[in-house]
Assembly symmetry: C2
Amino acid sequence: MKKSNKKNLSFGEAGRGLSIIKIGGNVIENKEELAKFLTLFANLDGLKILVHGGGKLATQLAAKLGIESKMIDGRRITDAETLEVITMVYGGLTNKNIVAQLQAKNCNAIGLSGADGNAIQAHKRLVKEIDYGFAGDVDGVNNSMISKLLSANLTPVFCAITHDGNGQLLNTNADTIAAEVAIHMSSFYETTLYYCFEKKGVLQNINDEDSVITQIDNRSYTKLLSEGIIADGMIPKIDNCFNAIERGVDKICIGHHSMLDSKNELYTTITI
Amino acid sequence: MKKSNKKNLSFGEAGRGLSIIKIGGNVIENKEELAKFLTLFANLDGLKILVHGGGKLATQLAAKLGIESKMIDGRRITDAETLEVITMVYGGLTNKNIVAQLQAKNCNAIGLSGADGNAIQAHKRLVKEIDYGFAGDVDGVNNSMISKLLSANLTPVFCAITHDGNGQLLNTNADTIAAEVAIHMSSFYETTLYYCFEKKGVLQNINDEDSVITQIDNRSYTKLLSEGIIADGMIPKIDNCFNAIERGVDKICIGHHSMLDSKNELYTTITI
């Protein structure tokens, strides 16, 4: 299903391509890899948005301050002290250093949390079996404000923090932020979402780093699931990708951040 | 000297009044005072920009991390570790919490360092007698970018961090940032700069908190200096104010942050 005819053309930059790129802790924690990625990002043509997680830096700072980091199923339990650490590391140290480095590469970056310009509204996750503390589930994205920044030739760089509109910051999954931003921006732009991780893409054979499945669509996904090739933790990730595509994102690419280099064609593309 | 005829009218919001308000550590460190100030700020009519320092929170975090805070004549010596602390506290914890609280008060705040949108360019202070480390002296302010944010109904909130354009963040005096932003924005707007501190204004009698000198101009300043009423640390502050006015700022107000309440008329106004 081609969605380009659904784009609202009320913004100056509308109709142009917009790339939303999410990087994880493995890139942020490695200065050389981060510099390489930021060069690729800065050189990327068209409008773009960066979303970064935080990774181990927050855990390391928490440890130095004697704050225990609690994780359940890979998700951080965010008590008040941990939220302060996350706000310092993600919103301050990581975000501002990325912005300064992008500026040095002639990319006019502007660092944002979800509170800035009311960019991403969320609510504190309801307590069911687990109390995640100050963890946010996204309610909305201020796509018109973000469009104004893009129209002013600014490149938003989001850290994984949202707010509830009542003065409370909330720790929020960076994959989710990237997807929600891409979904909401897809009203105005042809939108491609890039998920960067340590592998080259979704693998046909988990033991062969080069066995990248280059294309997954609804039909082939069903087959890959039934064959057990896509399994375990990869299932919710791919489900989330299809959810984003069904809600308006035009294309999703999964792979190593070197996929941003136009010479590299080995990564996984997900479309309907 | 009236400067309103010098304003460049190329921006949508030009000609409207713009207030730049600087608050110091004494407000930031006190949650109740900060909430009161933010209510006054949010309710202030017209376009506005907030500049905040950091104060003791950075010193406290540095102490917890075993990093010694070195000050010379009230200025912080910023080594690499201290810069990280400042980036976390000023750029992250303080800035994002202020933004989230302003959003809750229906003020569409956007938090910025000088790196964001290349807002404030600086260079690392040259080493003369003292090596201040990663301390920045301001070279320029991107007033057209800031004007675009104001035109998008955003309220910039600056932390006291700049950048050198080569990827280096720099710790920068918040009073200086406020003055430089006001000076550069005065090309486009009728600009009033508010310096908030713990006293009600510049005092005639240092032992009488209510002996506020309500108006200082060039002529009365000379007299106050010769009489020794303005002395010591207040001299460079007032000199900086006159410098800002000579470079285009229309009015400067010095006093307690309650001066933002229109009912309060007791503070010091500095004009040419």
